[in-house]
Amino acid sequence: MEENKISIVISTGTEEKLIMLGVLAQTASNLGMPMSVFVTGTALKVFMKDGYREKPTAPAGFEHYMHKLEAGLEKVKFPGWHSLLETAKETGSLKIMACSLMTSALNLKKGDLDPLVDDIVGATDFMIKSGGGQVIAL
């Protein structure tokens, strides 16, 4: 298979964005596409150690909609965004990087983050390594 790399910046930690992140990660893994994720902003909260275990935040104004969506996702056996990321890491080429600005601001070390996070990097590292590939902002 071709190896078109894809890079994703996730800066908001609300549930619908995390679901999309999981779906894209699993799909990239299915297609054999290396994928890197740069976690920043409020998304970093759910990438702290055990952060994914907390009930995800619904986007403001969409609480009722998200409640219905959650019920529907359960019905179609959606495995959950974190589980999709775990699988994508096991079966594909997924790298997850945390933003060094945010981790510095919150005084977080790598050990404070979800084990799925590979490294803490700056924007320069992320942008250089993304060069030539698609970048999607969630």
């Binding site: 298979m1 071709e2 996702l73 056996k77």
Partner: protein, 78 residues
């Protein structure tokens, strides 16, 4: 030549394609994969995947909201 039946009914994107690729990894050249799903994305997703991987989408049939996609494994070396 083996036929791999994959039942992904009750799951949604990216479940059916993930199941398809699991079956594909176990398959050999000339095998057939029959994927059953009720996620409507399964047909365009299977078609795009076949185009990308040089496998042949033999047919896709819908009946009562269930899709049956038949794929011939042509994208692997013998």
């Amino acid at each position: 030549m083996t036929t791999h039946n994959v039942d992904s009914r009750g799951t949604a994107c990216p479940g059916p394609i993930t199941d398809l690729i699991r079956a594909y990894k176990k398959s050999t050249l000339g095998d057939t994969i029959v994927l059953m799903a009720n996620d409507p994305g399964v047909v365009p997703d299977s078609r795009a995947w076949c185009d990308r991987t040089k496998n042949e989408l033999v047919s896709s049939v819908e009946k009562d909201g269930n899709f049956v996609v038949t794929i011939k494994v042509t994208g692997k070396k013998g």
